[in-house]
């Protein structure tokens, strides 16, 4: 098993809300704070735009991890959007678990536009977690 | 006792919060508990001081205080605390800590005068024992 993980480069899809987390990622860039290139950002207006089906689709197409990052509760640009996100995504998490996906593969985090370092840190930790888990084989489309 | 890093970082708060179920750390020292306490004049530490010393971790000062034993559990403080704290429970928490850790019941049957035994209602004697010995 550990041999299989050698050289494994996980693919991580990050849904980032435009106002906070995407800006946080920009700030990590401006501040030249490195994090693993495994992370690919998809920009959404608000974390509440993330349909659970997007997350499932990512796993089906071979993503090894998915993260939804939005504004801190109370700071949402759309004032209550991320509140719905929280509820909806905790249901999704249970569903994924039920489908046999390790809970660590799907995370929801609050990262503000001023938290460049936090963005880099979260992505670094997440990549390490997923790397340790190995590739996602559960939901992957049998292509 | 002096306030030191050790007292502030001690487990006293945790301990008394466990026994009493009250969030002693949230006391803002408004003094309203002491302001209405009927036993104030007999106390060597005023109720709000007990809270403060607990926040600072000064256990010995609290443990040797007479206050714990003159508090009548009248709930006046609890009815008025601006932080919704029940000091009667905190006092009980400290009494319990002391009785359980050090033993030393503070009420003995022989302490009662014959007159008390004759006149005092059961209720007083039972509650006295309940409070002062475990």
């Amino acid at each position: 098993m550990s041999v299989a993980k050698e050289g494994f480069e996980p693919l991580i899809v990050a849904f980032c809300c435009n106002w906070c987390s995407y800006a946080g990622a920009d700030l990590a860039g401006t501040g030249r704070m490195p994090y693993p290139a495994n992370v690919r950002i998809v920009r959404v207006p608000c974390s509440s735009r993330v349909n659970p089906s997007f997350v499932i689709r990512a796993f089906q197409r071979g993503a090894d991890g998915v993260i939804v990052a939005g504004c801190h509760p109370g700071d949402c640009h759309y004032h209550s959007g991320n509140f719905f996100t929280r509820r909806r995504l905790s249901v999704l998490r249970r569903l994924l678990e039920y489908m046999g996906i390790e809970p660590e593969r799907f995370q929801v985090r609050w990262i503000s536009g001023s938290e460049g370092a936090k963005f880099a840190q979260v992505m670094t930790d997440l990549t390490a977690d997923i790397r340790a888990l190995g590739p996602n084989r559960k939901l992957r489309d049998a292509l | 006792m002096k306030v030191t890093t050790d007292t502030i970082c001690s487990d006293l708060l945790k301990e008394v919060e466990e026994y009493s179920g009250e969030k002693v750390a949230s006391c803002i020292q408004c003094g309203k508990c002491s302001g209405g306490c009927p036993m104030l004049e007999a106390m060597d530490l005023l109720p709000h001081q007990v809270m403060r010393l607990a926040q600072l971790g000064l256990k010995e000062d609290i443990m040797k205080s007479k206050t714990l034993w003159v508090c009548a559990s009248c709930f006046t403080c609890a009815a008025r605390c601006q932080r919704d704290l029940d000091l009667s429970k905190v006092m009980e928490g400290f009494r319990v800590i002391q009785l359980r850790q050090k033993g030393g019941n503070t009420m003995h049957p022989r302490q009662l005068t014959p007159e008390q035994l004759k006149d005092a209602p059961q209720q007083a004697i039972i509650s006295g024992f309940r409070k002062y010995s475990k």
Binding site: I41, Y78 | Q82
Partner: protein, 659 residues
């Protein structure tokens, strides 16, 4: 087929030093739909933009991907470039290969690989971009201000001075609010009436302000730039045109009730002017107490009125007016002290609230400004002031700090000494909070010059003993019990939101916090805006604040209003939600999640064969929608989709990322 053009930027060496531009271009050329790919050293420069325009035209490009810095940096720049080339500006997508790539992945070739992936994702989305046109909204050049305390007055004057029409709606018979009730004001001890009355007169005389007193806003519809409000002008029973304000009518009215303005410290008649400087200075008949209205006879005032202005038959007037912007300035109440039996308020006449004390000190108040005990009319020698009554109290009152009471208590101590020489003010406090310019100094004057004694400790109990009041408390600093005999007790009672604030909030579609104060859009950076565009906040209705802060916030709200009304039209955000009626099941799930209440149900009629069916569908108000997309997620049939971030676009991005 879509013809996508890819333009890769070097950003000098910012990108090019890490990402192999050549390889990105080569890879891009092989991506689906891509017909053209090229690079430029500085894409945002005049030259770079020109090259994009030329290529679009020459290569007949219909969708554009620019791989460069963050869209948060240059999306607008490049949208204009694309538009200049004759395309819809929303045909553009940006691949962020600088902030999200070259600057953070410097090792080896991972940067190049990721850049290619980012370009592929942007291409996938761009190929599905639809033309979007921002709507253009007209703006009604008129503002509504609700509540005419100092905050509402200031906001109305500032907007009116900028040349716009303002309607100022006040539910009481006079404008002025709480400030009109105060005596002198901290930290300068200006007389409240002396600085407020001129502003009240300005309001009355301003050409651009229409005053509606004794009026309430009953309904508000619409959205930024286009509100419609229904205002009920309650009947005063007085013909305002005829009335000269002579005041003869109320002298003989047989009914006496507690005066609200005097905080119950004096009586008024059933026909009355709340206070001498009232604006408008014309009476109103209080129908709940007037004998004519309750018992059918009296009419004394009508008989006396020399102008024939009293008219019991006058009815409410209901106006419907359109506005571009709304300022909410409904102010505050004080806490009901029912739960605070320990302070003896309501049981003993010499225990007063701070607001009652303001009236007692006021030269136009019930005692003509003499501080006298309500019980026996004698001047008090010692007065205890108790701070934080009902504030900072999680058990029986309000958890927050009321912010103004430390300062006005210091003021009261000073005023006591000024009015009753030799009297002793004693203040019970938990903390003295004086952040503000000259505030600490003001408090220092109370202790240093006016001999106020401050005792740190909340009072346990107040009770009468003979004709004096006993205060039992503690000085927590010295840990000594305190037992004082005083002549009067003044309670610095918590300020609260207006009792009807939550209802006003619902009517306007703005939210309140746990204590019913209106929520600002951002506690630091958007303190006068609400989450509903075009609705602004001023004064205490947003949270405890003193007069200087209320006025500052009012002027700030006025600037926001004027900034909005100054625009010719509002350019809407085109990335709004859209409902495909043919797919909508009418479940209305989407209406539940919208933070802006932008989705409403509507009925549509359609023909199915021979039958005509009526069914419910959802409809998005594009003026209100801010484009968060929550509704699109809530929609199970997939009828609701967010333009610019459609389900198809995002799924295409996900697929491209995972390739």
């Amino acid at each position: 087929m879509k013809r996508v053009g890819v333009f890769v930027c070097w950003c000098g060496s910012n990108i090019a030093a890490t990402v192999d531009i050549e390889r990105v271009i080569a890879a891009a050329r092989k991506m689906p739909n891509v017909v053209y790919a090229s690079d430029n050293k500085y894409m945002c420069s005049e030259l770079g933009q020109a090259s994009i325009r030329e290529s679009i035209e020459k290569e007949n490009i219909t969708r554009v991907v620019i791989a460069s810095c963050s869209p948060r940096m240059h999306e607008n720049t490049f949208r204009k470039t694309v538009a200049a080339a004759g395309l819809n500006p929303f045909y553009l997508e940006i691949a962020n290969i600088r902030e999200h790539c070259s600057w953070v992945h410097k090792e080896g070739e991972v940067g190049t690989v990721k850049a290619i992936s980012l370009v592929r994702t942007a291409v996938a989305k761009a190929a599905r971009n639809e033309p979007l046109t921002p709507s253009s909204l007209q703006i009604t050049k008129r503002a509504l201000v609700i509540g005419a305390g100092i905050a509402g007055i200031q906001a109305a004057l500032d907007i009116a001075d900028s040349g716009y029409q303002v309607d100022l709606v006040e539910k009481e018979p006079s404008i002025g609010g709480r400030m009109a009730q105060l005596d002198k004001t901290f930290p300068t001890l200006d007389c409240s009436a002396c600085i407020l009355t001129p502003k009240m007169v300005d309001v009355a005389q301003h050409d651009n302000i229409t005053l509606h007193t004794y009026s309430v806003v009953e309904k508000v519809d619409g959205y930024v730039g286009n509100f419609t409000a229904t205002i009920r002008k309650k009947s005063r029973g007085i013909d305002m045109e005829k009335c000269t304000g002579c005041g003869i009518c109320y002298e003989k009215c047989p009914v006496k009730v507690d005066s609200e303005f005097e905080a119950g410290m004096a009586k008024r008649r059933a026909i009355y002017v709340p206070f001498p400087q009232a604006v408008p200075n014309k009476p109103v008949i209080d129908r709940e107490n007037c004998r004519y209205f309750t018992q059918g006879k009296c009419k004394v005032c009508q008989k006396l009125c020399p102008a024939g202005a009293v008219d019991y038959e006058l009815e409410d007037e209901v106006l419907t007016v359109e506005y571009g912007a709304i300022v909410v300035a409904t102010g505050f109440d004080i806490l009901d002290l029912q739960a605070y039996g320990e302070y003896g308020y309501g049981k003993h006449p010499d225990v007063l609230t701070s607001l009652e004390f303001e009236r007692l000190v006021n030269a136009s108040g019930p005692t003509g400004g003499k501080i006298l005990r309500p019980s026996d009319g004698k001047p008090p020698r010692t007065v205890a002031f108790i701070q934080c009554v009902g504030s900072r109290d999680q058990a029986k009152g309000k958890a927050y700090c009321s912010k103004v009471c430390c300062m006005y208590t210091a003021k009261h101590a000073i005023l006591l000494r000024e009015k009753v020489p030799g009297a002793k003010p004693i203040v019970f406090y938990i903390d003295v909070r004086t952040p503000g310019k000259d505030y600490e100094e003001f408090y220092n004057r109370a202790t240093d010059e006016y001999g106020a004694t401050y005792i740190r400790g909340q009072v346990g109990k107040v009770y009468p003993e003979g004709d004096r009041l006993i205060i039992r408390g503690v000085d927590s600093l010295s840990a000594r019990p305190v037992e004082l005999e005083v002549d009067m007790v003044v309670l610095a009672v918590a300020v609260t939101a207006r009792a009807d604030a939550a209802g006003v909030g619902r009517m306007l579609g703005i939210t309140t916090n746990a204590h019913q104060f209106f929520n600002e859009a951002h506690p630091k950076l958007r303190p006068v805006e609400t989450h509903s565009a075009g609705i602004y906040l001023a004064g205490m209705c947003q949270g405890p604040k003193d007069i200087p802060e209320a006025v500052a916030q009012a002027s700030a709200a006025a600037v926001k209003v004027v900034g909005l009304l100054n625009k010719d039209s509002l350019v809407g955000n085109p990335t709004v939600a859209n409902v495909d009626e043919s797919m909508c099941s009418g479940c209305l799930e989407c209406t539940q999640v919208c933070p802006y209440d932008a989705i409403k149900e509507k009925s549509i009629t359609e023909r199915r064969g021979r039958e005509t069916l009526t069914r419910t569908v959802a409809e998005v108000n594009e003026g209100l929608c801010q484009g968060c997309g929550a509704c699109s997620v809530a929609c199970r049939p997939g009828a609701n989709n967010l333009k610019g971030f459609t389900n198809e676009q995002i799924l295409a991005e996900v697929d491209a990322v995972c390739l």
